[in-house]
């Protein structure tokens, strides 16, 4: 009984600790150092998890050797509930099970645009925290990168009425803090895309003020290639 109580008290949650991802002991998160573009081989065992924008990343073959797990409308809240069909059967598997099929040692997550379109930044970051726990549980030996979502264009936000630029700016800051807490490497897409007022720059819009066009996605791919962390030497792929 006393032992059980002790265990309970020492559990990470009881101590107010959060689960942390695997990371390089020298190149500490959240910032990955800038370097010359890495080759495609770095992404051979990388999985990119995201929404419709990730679909375009895959379609454009910007990181051709990477694997992609995306669904239209996926959000930090829905990522754990999404189902993927399995070839040759009626079975369906979860996002994490689908990602695990690729045995990743690196995981890139780009979510939040679906979520911020109808919720404030705080509840979306709470969803992100839950997703962070699930990611770490499923992939305890993977380097995890998180990418901040882009804001909508001025025109799109004025149509949506209840969405304001400050929400994305605030979320960007919260996501950076979360990344530091969780040992995630952080990729700041927000500041690449936003103007001084916090709206998506029109030259990066696919036309709907929500999705990013090929130019913007190429920029993101270039940034990713120049901000990687080598998988720590001597570590086995234990996924």
């Amino acid at each position: 009984m006393i032992a059980a109580l002790m265990l309970l008290l020492l559990a990470p949650d009881a101590l107010g600790e959060v689960k942390k991802a695997y990371c390089d002991p020298v190149l500490l998160p959240p910032d990955a150092p800038m370097h010359e573009p890495t080759g495609d081989e770095y992404f051979d065992d990388a999985v990119f998890i995201g929404d419709s924008m990730m679909e375009y990343m895959e379609m454009y073959e910007l990181l051709p050797t990477a694997s992609y797990v995306w669904q239209i409308g996926m959000s930090p809240m829905s990522v754990g509930r999404k189902q993927f069909r399995v070839a040759g059967s009626n079975e369906k598997i979860t996002t994490y099970e689908q990602a695990a099929l690729y045995h990743p040692t690196k995981i890139y997550v780009w979510l939040g645009a679906n979520g911020l379109d109808n919720k404030a930044s705080e509840p979306v970051i709470e969803d992100y925290e839950k997703m962070a726990d699930e990611l770490i549980d499923h992939f305890p030996n993977a380097l995890i990168y998180v990418i901040s979502p882009p804001p909508m264009s001025r025109e799109r936000m004025s149509k949506e009425k209840y969405v304001v630029p400050g929400r994305y700016r605030k979320f960007e800051g919260l996501l950076r803090e979360l990344a530091a807490r969780r040992n995630f490497y952080y990729i700041d897409m927000y500041h690449m895309i936003a103007d001084a007022d916090g709206y998506m720059l029109l030259q990066y819009s696919m036309g709907d003020g929500f999705h990013l066009n090929r130019t913007a996605l190429s920029m993101l791919a270039d940034y990713i290639r120049t901000h990687t962390v080598p998988y720590p030497e001597g570590e086995e792929n234990a996924q």
Binding site: S52, M59, P64, Y68, G73, A87, M206, G207, F210
Partner: protein
């Protein structure tokens, strides 16, 4: 390069149709006869020119296999194009199945994909949903096709006789 090939394919397809239209009294029958020799890409060019909206991007073999859950090796020829620049569900795909015994399986895979996509768009972009709801998986012998466009009727008409 792909765009150039596509343009040449489109011109050839249109030339075939124009020559057929101009040389016969019964316009639809010769055009359909000429269509028999079209490649999957030429079919896609032809139908999309009639019914299309968005600028399309050819997807990779990896994308095809992952989204349709079929093997490209089971296809003698194929084309799969998605809206590459406009964030709509628009697409066209034409698949020529190698083995007649697998035609039903491939058709079912495309049907499953259409249903999954329709389900995803129901909450995501309801204003685009009609394009998926109006789209039909079509078959003509060993060819399977799906066109998700702003005008499903025009697409159906462009495919011509024999598709069901």
């Amino acid at each position: 390069m792909k765009k150039t090939i596509r343009s040449i394919g489109l011109l050839m397809a249109l030339a075939l149709l124009l020559s057929a239209c101009g040389s016969a009294e019964k316009k639809s029958q010769p055009a359909d006869a000429q269509k028999e020799s079209l490649t999957c890409a030429a079919w896609a060019d032809l139908v999309w020119a009639a019914a299309g909206g968005a600028q399309m991007t050819d997807v990779t073999e990896k994308y095809l296999e992952k989204t349709l859950l079929i093997q490209a090796a089971d296809l003698a020829d194929w084309v799969f194009r998605r809206d590459g620049e406009g964030a709509t569900p628009e697409m066209i795909l034409v698949l020529k199945v190698k083995d007649a015994g697998k035609t039903d399986t491939v058709r079912q895979a495309v049907q499953d994909y259409l249903e999954e996509r329709t389900l995803q768009y129901r909450d995501y972009q309801p204003d685009q949903l009609y394009k998926l709801e109006n789209a039909k998986v079509l078959q003509k012998d060993d060819l399977i096709a799906l066109c998700v466009s702003p005008d499903a009727e025009k697409a159906l008409k462009a495919f011509g006789d024999g598709w069901k």
